[in-house]
């Protein structure tokens, strides 16, 4: 079953482009990565899910219901963590979290304290006394405490130190194991690589590729480095080779295609060293943005 279904969703801010004809699905129980540089439309998409903004055309359904029409009802089961968190400055953390909890049907008290302990959040301090990272922790607690079935994370790790990031990822994985679907938007590929099953790549408002993260990494590209004396890089200019470079007596390139073909090319040469590895997501990603 699809938890999120997006159909030709389009949003213009006046004349400025938000997203254009975006369509994809997120299945129940998966961690879906949503990747793109700043301004590509990641936040626009998430804000449309929450009906913080209204689409110019197209639609999004969540749990099979229209995100706008059933917004209030759907948000009962959605946890949202924005990239920048802002709360009522004059409130104490505990009062803010209690106010947040008062919107949900179930009693969140126990989970609230549990999460605050995990994230090492001091509940007695005032919001305006908190550092950015600590505000972010408040955001995590208030996004998770009502045990939502869908998590919308918009660049969630900015402002968290590496230790907290690890705790946060652990938390998200645990939620996911409980069956929670996670929509994870980010421009940091490493974290998406670690967390996600599938990834959608968004560029200038359009989704350009949706793939299984393993497929994206292994089936397509190999990163090859060949070291040899008097190497002529022109020899490797065959179909499927890209980003061919020569430096320090070694040739580097990406290869996509029949692996035997490139192996034969290599064996024709007297080499001193060969490495063939999986490209990182970063490298694949850069390829999409060329």
């Amino acid at each position: 079953m699809s938890v999120i279904e997006v159909n030709e969703l389009t949003k213009y801010y006046g004349k400025a482009r938000g997203i254009v004809d975006v369509s994809f699905q997120v299945d129940e129980g998966e961690i879906f990565g949503f990747i793109g540089p700043n301004g590509a439309g990641k936040s626009t998409t998430i804000r449309l899910f929450l009906s913080l903004i209204y689409p110019s055309s197209g639609s999004a359904t969540i749990f099979g219901k229209d995100a706008i029409e059933y917004g209030p009802e759907l948000r009962q089961d959605i946890g949202y963590l924005p990239s920048e968190v802002f709360y009522y400055e004059r409130m104490k953390v505990i009062d803010l979290l209690k106010y947040s909890a008062s919107f949900y049907e179930q009693d969140c008290t126990e989970r609230l304290h549990e999460l605050a302990e995990i994230m090492e959040l001091d509940l007695k301090r005032r919001i305006d006394d908190l550092s950015y990272g600590n505000k972010k922790k408040v955001g995590i607690v208030q996004g998770l405490m009502h045990q939502p079935r869908l998590l919308l994370l918009d660049e969630p790790t900015s402002g968290l130190d590496p230790l907290m990031q690890r705790k946060f990822f652990k938390l998200i994985r645990e939620e996911n194991q409980r069956g929670v679907t996670v929509f994870f938007s980010s421009h940091i590929l490493g974290e998406v690589q670690r967390m996600c099953n599938r990834v959608g790549i968004i560029k200038e408002g359009s989704v350009i590729n949706i793939q299984d993260i393993k497929t994206l990494q292994s089936d397509n590209y190999k990163k090859i480095r060949i070291a040899a004396e008097d190497l002529d890089e022109a020899k490797f200019e065959i179909d499927g080779v890209s980003n061919l470079q020569k430096s320090n007596g070694a040739v580097r390139f990406f290869y996509k295609g029949d692996i035997n073909q490139i192996m034969r090319k290599i064996s024709e040469t007297e080499v001193s060293d060969v490495t063939i590895e999986e490209p990182t997501l970063e490298e694949i990603f850069l390829h999409y943005y060329e």
């Binding site: 913080l52 209030p72 949202y80 990239s83 920048e84 709360y87 009522y88 106010y99 919107f103």
Partner: protein, 269 residues
């Protein structure tokens, strides 16, 4: 209405409500306590007024005002109370929804399982409760102060009651007009200039309207609809004008609900 939003909003607003209430009560005290010294020499006072240029008297709505009578004097100082309360209500109207966008808390509130209509209703009721508190403080302190300082003079109680009760609708005008304007513009960066412009703009319209003589335009301002001079003289509201206020309030509120329901909340960054 969501009780939790109402409670939250009411608490956030309470300090401001208390400060406004006390400030207006103090203003009333200072002005009314001057009355006993002014009213001592009625003749001198009326002579002095006769020396004033007519335009000035018109601007303050004093053209046929008897400063020596209790309510005559009270209706004169009531104009300043009205200006203060107009600023307060405008301020609440302009900031009601825009504060969430300015302080970037709109994301927090609107991502909760609650509809926009419910949010607006709860916020409006919280603001109205605040205004009601201010009104009650003004009503009670007016009565007490008038009783203390009237000396052996008498006054028309009904006129005073009408004058005071009108304040609530008067404020509702500024609250709802401020709200609808805040939703018509893209972003309210600072509430104070908007609130000042609306409150003083309406006052100036009423004052200049008087000076320029016959003109229909001045009829849109609640300073005219609830002209203290008229209410005191007639011990009644000018109903056609008051109903203009009511119509504007209804249109502004309906418009606000429609605009807010479809509003795109700008992203914090």
């Amino acid at each position: 209405m969501k009780k939790n939003i109402y409670k939250h909003e009411f608490k956030m607003n309470l300090r401001s409500v208390i400060i406004w209430s006390i400030a207006v009560a103090v203003l009333l005290f200072v002005y009314i306590s001057l009355f006993s010294s002014i009213a001592v020499d009625t003749e001198l006072l009326n002579e002095m007024l006769a020396e004033f240029p007519e335009e000035l008297l018109l601007a303050f709505g004093m053209e046929n005002m008897d400063l020596a009578s209790v309510l005559g004097y009270f209706s004169f100082l009531f104009l300043f109370v009205q200006i203060c309360l107009a600023i307060q209500a405008s301020y609440y109207g302009f900031s009601l929804v825009s504060i969430e966008e300015r302080e970037l808390t709109a994301d927090f509130l609107l991502a909760k399982p609650v509809g926009r209509t419910q949010i607006l209703t709860s916020k409006l009721l919280a603001a109205l409760s605040g205004l009601l508190i201010t009104n009650i403080v003004v009503w009670v302190s007016s009565f007490i102060l008038v009783e203390i300082f009237k000396g052996d003079r008498t006054y028309d109680t009904q006129a005073l009651i009408l004058l005071l009760l009108g304040l609530f609708v008067f404020q509702l005008f500024f609250l709802s007009v401020g709200l609808v304007i805040s939703l018509l513009v893209k972003r309210v960066r600072n509430v104070t200039p908007y609130a000042m412009a609306l409150a003083f703009g309406m006052y100036v319209l009423s004052a200049f309207g008087d000076m320029l003589g016959e003109s229909k335009f001045e009829n849109i301002t609640p300073f005219k609809h609830f002209d203290p001079g008229y209410i005191v003289q007639n011990a009644a509201y000018n109903l056609p004008l008051v109903s203009i206020s009511l119509v504007v309030i209804v249109i502004s509120l309906v418009g606000s609900y429609l605009l807010y329901a479809r509003r795109n909340i700008p992203a914090p960054v």
